[in-house]
């Protein structure tokens, strides 16, 4: 009897071990019919405005699935709300890797939440395409599993400043949020002006909790700048435009692409946003390229209750290169194959910036488009893709 029990236990252990090995041979998140891809995004909390990103990705994947999927496999998309709370983001990342088993992660809004999971995802060899932030912490230094689709704040500020200096006026002031986000923008602007032989006429910073910006507006006015470049949160941009209007100060306002959702900005500035120049990390919402048209049709058909804003289709932009690399990887998808496919991309374009990845350079996007907001909340292009010369 006792021997029988022992033999039973041995068989059981072998079976469990065997099952474990069989699983290990497979690729996490890939079955014969499905590829699982995850994303976190703030659907609640202070950054819920940017939650549209993760839902845009959902639309894109639905569209791909309707077209028949990728090499016969459908995409199973797992969207989780982290409320912009890094502790929750980390729980989600662990759930993705250990419970759900995702093949890759796409997008993911925010530097703080992203930083909390960056090392964990890398340790677990999860490809991560398009962290939804222009911070340099994800692709500098090169991380073998992370691919940047969002232009770095520094590069973006460089391009915007250069554009402003050449087209709008030589007296440029920089108004920024006093943290890494704002400082990376400031750095880019200073580099650009140094190359052009100029200098900022004023550098004014604002703290996240500040709400009274009258003295900031006064400082900007006294500097006599013709152009003010903003690296801010939406609320600060709205307040400073209001305060400056009160003072009768009307420079050319220029903003980073974090404020590129023109209808929202028009709404919270009560129309003052008209005329502002912003950079864009993708094609303009009303542009008539074949891909844009196709996506807008899919949007009308499958998610008409969503607004077609720049953050919504940003979710498509971040996911495009991943889908492309999955297509290139062929029928037998492995992590290595997807990574090497991504690394062969050269000036590849969907509706985002041209992407070039190599083994040592995972910051694929180095260009932005420049656009201007019209009175009716639409945007018009001022430039094609401008690339930093590097």
């Amino acid at each position: 009897m006792r021997r029988g029990v022992w033999i039973g236990i041995m068989i059981l252990m072998l079976a469990v071990g065997g099952a474990g090995m069989a699983l290990a041979a497979d690729v996490r998140g890939v079955t014969d019919t499905e590829i699982t891809i995850g994303q976190w995004g703030p659907q609640t909390g202070p950054a819920a405005l940017w939650g549209a990103v993760a839902r845009g990705t959902d639309l894109y994947f639905k569209m791909i699935n309707e077209e028949g999927g990728i090499n016969g496999r459908k995409i199973k998309y797992v969207l989780r709300d982290d409320g912009y709370n890094p502790a929750k983001t980390k729980a989600i990342a662990k759930e993705f890797v250990e419970n759900i088993g995702v093949f890759a992660v796409v997008g993911g809004v925010g530097t703080g939440p992203g930083m909390a999971v960056r090392d964990y995802l890398t340790e677990n060899k999860v490809p991560w395409v398009g962290p939804s932030t222009g911070s340099s912490h994800f692709t500098r230094p090169t991380n073998p599993y992370i691919f940047g689709v969002y232009p770095l704040y520094k590069d973006e500020a460089y391009l915007l400043t250069k554009y402003a200096y050449e087209n709008k006026g030589k007296k440029i002031a920089f108004f920024y949020q006093n943290d890494d986000y704002g400082k990376e923008g400031l750095e880019g602007a200073e580099i650009a002006l140094k190359e052009l032989g100029g200098a900022l006429v004023a550098k004014v910073s604002v703290e996240v909790p500040d709400t009274d910006l009258s003295s900031h507006a006064l400082k900007l006015k006294e500097s006599g700048a013709d152009v003010v470049i903003m690296w801010l949160l939406p609320k600060h941009a709205a307040i400073i435009l209001g305060e400056s209007a009160k003072l009768g100060y009307k420079p050319q306002w220029i903003s980073s692409n974090t404020l590129s959702d023109a209808p929202v900005m028009m709404n919270i500035t009560k129309g003052l946003w008209a005329g502002v120049i912003t950079s864009m990390f993708g094609d303009l919402p009303n542009e008539d390229t074949p891909l844009m048209k196709k996506y807008r049709e899919a949007h009308q058909k499958m998610a008409a209750s969503e607004r077609w804003g720049s953050f919504y289709y940003a979710g498509i932009i971040w996911a495009e290169p991943l889908v492309e690399s999955l297509k290139m990887a062929g029928k037998d998808v492995t992590t290595e194959k997807v990574l090497t496919s991504l690394e062969t991309m050269n000036k590849w374009r969907g509706i985002g910036p041209p992407l070039t990845y190599t083994k040592d350079e995972h910051q694929g996007a180095k260009s932005v488009k420049i656009s201007q907001v019209l009175e009716n909340g639409d945007v018009k292009p001022l430039s094609d893709w401008l690339q930093i010369t590097k």
């Binding site: 659907q43 609640t44 989780r80 662990k94 759930e95 703080g112 930083m115 909390a116 964990y120 943290d179």
Partner: protein, 349 residues
């Protein structure tokens, strides 16, 4: 059978052999949990244990002493940054960083306790809230502490034991949590605990019977801050990255919510409240995956609220649970527990 014959029986740590037995069973279950749970559930357990330590500390202040605080995210931040700096930047052992973080937070707790001596009710709440916001503001402006951007915290190591996985950090956190729970239970049954309760019930009456208000109120603040600081010190390595954003007013409110939901003036309640709130916060983000009802509520919410979908549902559920508990069971989960215990004791009569 539950009759107390003398005073010492009333204040025993373990009133009966049965409770001793269950305590051992609980410890064994906690020790075996990582074998079953895996990394994800251990991470969840770690968060619960950390929040439970905070909730116990906060309950000592709110539930036992009757001093409301909305500034505990501040102490939490102080603990997290102290330990992250000591073991991250200066390479000290976490075994030193942990109590150091606790005592640093306690010092700030003592300092905050002094001006709060004369404040009560809403005034006290505002003062503590101000404290919490001051702490995150200061950290945000202090580039030595990483400023607004935050700092990465390295992997833990105790002597030659690498704690890289959640299942390994789990043992450290659970050990600390058990010790601190026993400590709190011991504290409330002693002279100090009775003095705190006396202050809560009526501080004038307490002072006439010889309770030194200054001493005990500041002590309550310091002890509460100590607990929160230690929890913060454990939180830093669990998250691996801390920034002032993690310690905002919402964090303080959630802490207070744990205490109220769990049951004021109860250590068991603190733990239960922390567990419930943590699980709800984390698990409700996956509510759309529930069988049958998941897609249904998700489509209702997308259709009738806003396109955010699930976000509405999780907030509504958390909110209604809190409201329901406060209305129907003001003593929180602890009250539920006591009632059901009484019910079964007298069953079937």
């Amino acid at each position: 059978m539950d009759m107390k014959r003398d005073y010492y029986e009333d204040i025993q740590m373990l009133p009966s052999a049965w409770e001793g037995f269950w305590f051992v069973v609980l410890l064994a279950a906690l020790a075996l949990f990582p074998l079953l749970g895996g990394n994800y559930y251990c991470y969840l357990a770690n968060l619960i244990a950390i929040n439970a330590i905070v909730a116990i500390g906060l309950n000592l202040l709110v539930g036992y002493t009757g001093q409301v605080s909305l500034g505990h995210a501040g102490f939490f931040a102080i603990g997290a940054y102290t330990s992250a700096m000591l073991y991250g930047k200066y390479g000290l052992s976490i075994l030193i960083a942990l109590p150091a973080a606790g005592f640093t937070a306690a010092l700030f707790g003592f300092l905050l306790g002094l001006p709060c001596l004369r404040l009560e009710g809403p005034y006290l709440t505002i003062a503590t809230m101000g404290f919490g916001m001051t702490v995150t503001q200061t950290i945000g402006h202090w580039s030595f502490l990483g400023g607004r951007m935050g700092i990465n915290t390295p992997k833990l190591q105790i002597l030659s034991w690498q704690l890289s996985k959640d299942t390994e950090i789990y043992y450290l956190i659970i050990a600390v949590a058990v010790l601190m729970t026993i400590g709190a239970r011991n504290l409330v049954r002693t002279r100090v605990g009775r003095a705190l309760v006396a202050i809560r019930d009526s501080d004038i009456a307490a002072s006439t019977t010889g309770v030194n208000l200054t001493y005990y109120k500041t002590l309550a603040f310091a002890v509460s801050a100590f607990y929160t600081g230690v929890a913060g010190a454990l939180f830093a390595p669990v998250l691996g990255f801390i920034s002032p954003e993690n310690f905002n007013l919402i964090t303080s409110i959630v802490f207070l919510g744990m205490v109220v939901v769990g049951g004021l003036g109860s250590i068991f309640g603190s733990i239960a409240g922390a567990a419930l709130m943590t699980i709800l916060q984390i698990q409700l983000s996956a509510v759309q995956d529930l069988w049958l009802i998941g897609p249904l509520i998700s489509s209702i919410s997308t259709r009738w609220f806003n396109v955010g979908g699930m976000a509405n549902v999780s907030n509504i559920i958390i909110g209604s649970i809190m409201v329901a508990i406060v209305i129907f069971e003001p003593m929180g989960i602890n009250g539920l527990y006591l009632r059901s215990k009484r019910f079964f004791k007298s069953w079937p009569f």
